[in-house]
Symmetry: C2
Subunit: 137 residues, 2 copies
Amino acid sequence: MLSIGELSRQTGVKIPTIRYYEQMGLITAPERTAGNQRRYSRAGLGRLSFIKHARDLGLKIEDIRELLTLSAQPDMPCAEANRIAANHLAAIRARIARLQSLEAELARMSTCSAENIKDCYVIESLSNHALCAKNHT
Amino acid sequence: MLSIGELSRQTGVKIPTIRYYEQMGLITAPERTAGNQRRYSRAGLGRLSFIKHARDLGLKIEDIRELLTLSAQPDMPCAEANRIAANHLAAIRARIARLQSLEAELARMSTCSAENIKDCYVIESLSNHALCAKNHT
DNA sequence: CGCTATATCTATAGAAACTATAGCTATCCC
DNA sequence: GGGATAGCTATAGTTTCTATAGATATAGCG
């Protein structure tokens, strides 16, 4: 049985965020001690880790809720889970592409050695329109 | 002179967002028509594009405010702008790495052809802890 | 010129996903 | 048993927008 603090340490999810998730119905309310403190089981840890992963990977709370609902029904076909994953795949590939062009741009920028702002790559680069259509979503 | 709607179309920033930026002091209040509607100059378009770029690239509003302030002082050294860019570079490289491992994971996931949830990659992958330390920030 | 469809205006509220605060209560450890 | 540390609830604040309502302006057409 884990206290909320331990659960937080083990999952990397902050304490108020755990309580927030409980309030949002993403995790089920855990047992309480006689003194009203939350005590989490191993299953609770697993579920929160699942949520943490999914959040880190950019899934929205509502998507996660769907996945959790799905995963609670082990005999349903997994097409729906696939759909959710595939949706995110497209979005994520777009993000990667954008970030990579940004990376190049920033790398160039941060080597700028101009003496003053008017010749600074950073400013110029952010002002420059030429690459908009290609680089941004 | 551009109306707010045209400015929105040309920059891809939504109208309420433009007004929000004005309220936040990121862009200066533009001229108004006799009937009190905003009319933007070419300079206004440039500035909003700058902001749009920076936001797309993940800079926080406060960072952008700093950059805008800096760029208004063309004789300052650009070390500060460099610092901001370099800061973001590290963060962005980390994000790219994470997203790439996610991409692989999702790509694998979304090819899942299990008949039902209990064998579905998507669910399993999100439940699996083994790769946490490596894949997530 | 007048009319109507479309665009803007302000002010306010709501959304998403947390994060922080205040004031009070449990637990743990020596 | 007494104090440090951790947890409780409820509420408010943060960030970056987005939506709505009700009123006004502007543009295009005949």
